[in-house]
Symmetry: C2
DNA sequence: CTGTATCCCCGATGATACTG
DNA sequence: CAGTATCATCGGGGATACAG
């Protein structure tokens, strides 16, 4: 753990990583790992898109479906229920006819947008570099099987 | 404690999210979305653990397998290859007998640790709140099917 | 020690049809 | 409009055996 290895990593980040490494390395199983538990959600196919779609204002079910793009009602419902259960989203039903329902982020839900934006920003910044690395790799290793 | 109280995102984060929403909302398919492309990786089951395990210093194959815990050789190899292809990790073979191989983060690979630490930190901080939300939800909605 | 090659299973996701 | 129910599929990921 020499200092040059960590290079330009902010101390707070390094601290968080060490803490996490300690927790996850020591035979703690996945079920007991808060981070895996939460991160798996973010990894789900539609979670990120839905959170972002709601980030500025509440959205109705159909609006979300349109904005997210290719999602089925089934998956939209399922993902929204998970988010609601986790306390990131609030569901509000207006018993009009036909009914309308809106979904909005809770405080907890909004609070995840900041770290998420960090990752999204990184992805946007580095995507060219990553694509280039892939092409170089494929050429080195032979893209054809 | 400035204006970022309960509801306000830092301006930079809000900006990133708007930018991303614009890109992903407009009928751009998943294949062309840099962010989905990159984020899907992070969502893969082992990527995060492996990156963190390598975060402080290079690791040998067997060391990674021990540290990550429950991963099979198959998945470890596969995930490492993906990371290598994406330019996040360098693989170095020492033709000793028996051979030894080490994996280390590239500059690009280290650069993702910062946003990742943001998310990991969030997960650690909010996990109690999330667990509480789940219990409340399950009680409201009836845990039994 | 560091992988590859197979086989297999299950859960995540999609498609479609139906309902309050 | 906002879902639910059901069936079909596809691939991620585990287990195991083999190899350089």
């Amino acid at each position: 753990m020499t200092r040059e290895q960590e290079g330009n990593l902010p101390d707070t980040a390094a601290e968080v990583l060490r803490e996490f490494a300690r927790m996850s390395g020591e035979g703690v199983d996945t079920a007991n790992c808060p981070v895996r538990d939460v991160l798996d959600r973010v990894g789900e196919k539609w979670t990120l898109l839905i959170l972002v779609a709601m980030s500025d204002e509440p959205r109705r079910f159909s609006a979300l479906q349109r904005e997210v793009g290719d999602i089925s009602k089934r998956m939209l419902t399922q993902t929204l229920r998970t988010l609601e259960r986790d306390g990131l989203v609030t569901r509000t039903v207006y018993p009009t006819k036909p009914p309308s329902v809106d979904y909005r982020l809770t405080g907890l839900g909004r609070s995840v947008l900041t770290p998420l934006a960090g990752l999204i920003g990184w992805a946007g910044q580095k995507h060219d570099e990553i694509r280039a690395a892939r092409e170089a790799y494929d050429e080195r290793e032979g893209v054809a099987a």
